[in-house]
């Protein structure tokens, strides 16, 4: 009985994902490490580092991706992130000239591997002020510290639409 329920749930979930993906005209799926601030709700921003944990090294470029706006295009976003098993990590040195939900200093954060899907068919509007700076942070995973660079995603990526965590 439980397997029947599980299969039905999986089918329902995959149809949700397919529906959301069908809405994206030219998807750009970036797989990588996603760092969340510790929160019970949907965070405003996450950091996406497009590489796996195995080939993470100093100087890898990450992106500060606007996350909370994806709740328009992915209705189960809060469920999709709250049920995840996240690994606890520590980040340090988030220094940005603007208000960010990653405060400066030592911050305990959570790490998940997954995909963030952008829609390349509609690039980010050029008439909105944007920060093009490149910043650095220290990411500590299991006592190993990496120096990571991060910036805003390029405008050509388009607006972020979906988050799919690795199973």
């Amino acid at each position: 009985m439980s397997s029947v329920i599980r299969i039905t749930t999986l089918l329902a979930m995959s149809s949700l994902v397919n529906d959301a993906l069908a809405q994206i005209r030219d998807p750009l799926s970036l797989h990588g490490i996603v760092i969340f601030p510790v929160t019970d709700s949907i965070p405003q921003e996450v950091i996406l580092i497009p590489c796996t944990l195995d080939n993470l090294k100093d100087g890898t470029m990450g992106y500060l991706v606007m996350f909370s706006t994806m709740r328009w295009t992915q209705h189960d976003l809060l469920h999709a992130i709250s049920d995840l098993k996240k690994e606890e990590v520590n980040i340090r040195g988030i220094i940005t000239p603007y208000v960010s939900f990653f405060p400066p200093g030592d911050v305990s954060s959570e790490l998940v591997e997954g995909n963030i899907v952008f829609d390349k068919s509609y690039p980010v509007s050029p008439d909105v002020p944007r920060d093009e700076g490149i910043y650095e942070l220290e990411l500590t995973i299991n006592d190993t510290t990496y120096l990571i660079k991060y910036t805003n995603p390029p405008k050509e990526f388009g607006y972020p639409k979906m988050f799919i965590a690795d199973p």
Partner: protein, 87 residues
Amino acid sequence: MNIEKKMVYSANEAKNIATDAFNAGENDMRAYFKQRPTTSADDLGRYWIQRAQHHMAILSLGRGRVGTQGSINNAVPVVIRPYEFCY
């Protein structure tokens, strides 16, 4: 439907266009807020609507409209939903 009663986009496509306009509009509003953190909530609300209207005009080829005035067509009442805060 346009004035010649031809289908321009389906109800589902219209829903997706509206969703994209709101998504892009909120992205722009939050990007603007990060650059100008002293902007008031009222001004940000207006900016969000203005940006959503900008994207709606592009995505719906000038047919759609975003505003706070409700529908022009009274036969289709607007469903009001409370805003859900994000932290």
